[in-house]
């Protein structure tokens, strides 16, 4: 009787500790696709760059600028725990490090540098295939808006033409 009760107690303890072990062990590294669009937003009444669809409509719903021009589009693939860097216009540098995939949320750290100086650091969970927009830095005659998209591969973004950053724009 005592032996059976002891066995039951051990089994219950294992059941109780299993989620902890699973959480501590963590899931296997998963690949995360990152898409970064750099957009110049200005009030020069030039409309929306055709290459921005459907991001252009999203930006028009968010902001009141009259011009949205795609400056660069970059894609990258990394995995949880590995940082990926993007060179952005205006000497900005974007570091993105996915940390974990929790359901349909991707936990990541994002650091935006102005040259070597960190402008912004954030820890967030972004929905799979969701979009985070970081804007505000002045760029040329307007503002720089950075659209950051992340997906784990189950949602495939439509292929887009890669646009390199102008050489003068990458100089800090």
């Amino acid at each position: 009787m005592t032996a059976r009760l002891g066995s039951f107690l051990i089994y219950a303890s294992i059941l109780a500790l299993a989620p902890i072990g699973h959480a501590l062990a963590g899931p296997a590294p998963r690949q995360v696709s990152i898409h970064v669009d750099s957009v110049l937003a200005a009030d020069t009444h030039e409309g929306v760059d055709a290459r921005l669809a459907p991001l252009g409509r999203k930006l028009q719903g968010l902001f009141a600028y009259t011009t949205y021009s795609l400056v660069s589009h970059q894609d990258g693939i990394t995995e949880c725990g590995k940082m990926i860097a993007f060179m952005l216009p205006g000497g900005k540098i974007l570091h993105i490090q996915p940390r974990a995939v929790d359901g349909d949320m991707i936990a990541m750290e994002i650091v935006l540098f102005d040259g070597t100086r960190p402008m912004m650091t954030t820890d967030l969970k972004l929905k799979d295939n969701g979009t985070l927009i970081v804007g505000g830095p002045r760029y040329e005659q307007g503002m720089l808006i950075i659209s950051i998209g992340a997906s784990t591969g189950t949602h495939v973004a439509p292929p887009r033409e890669k646009i390199e950053i102008p050489a003068e724009a990458t100089t800090p």
Partner: protein, 199 residues
Amino acid sequence: MAECSEISLLLGAFDDSELEPNEMQEVAHHLARCDSCTAMLADYSTIGRGLRTIAPEPMLAGFATAVTVRIDALPQPLSQRIARWWRGLGDVFGSGFAWGTGAVAIAVLTILLTTPFAERYASRRLAPASSAVSHEVAKLEQGAAAVPEALAQRDSGTRAVMAEDSQAIISRLEAEMPSVAVWSEPQSDTTVIWLPDQP
């Protein structure tokens, strides 16, 4: 054959039945033939009965209970107290039920208390510290679709709430500028962090 001088030394113990069986038998055989020792034994018996009537007998009523109470009052180690409580629980509910209930309680408490911390520990890593102004934004405000010019004036330290169907949950936000606007646009499934450019 024992002499009376030897037997007389054993008479008191014989009267109290404290002798060994062989000594009891020897004294009994001697008494059957010796009147003087028999008379001496009778005297011993008389004196013994007299003494017993003189000496008061201690009151033993409640003695066992009093001893038990004093034992219980003695300080006991925690392990013994827990074991005694456990035995008492087993007496009341049955041993199997008590063990099962205890195991389930331990399992539930372990899950409730440790799993969130373990998950948080596994999913959380410290980011490098920044000397810039720290903005703790736990969650974003649901449906806060507003123009950036207005939100740029918002105090960046404001805590807001984000709906479960929002696109991002921001747990930490540090920026070098003193004010940062953060909002969510559910219609376009987009979260915005606006960093006003400094002059």
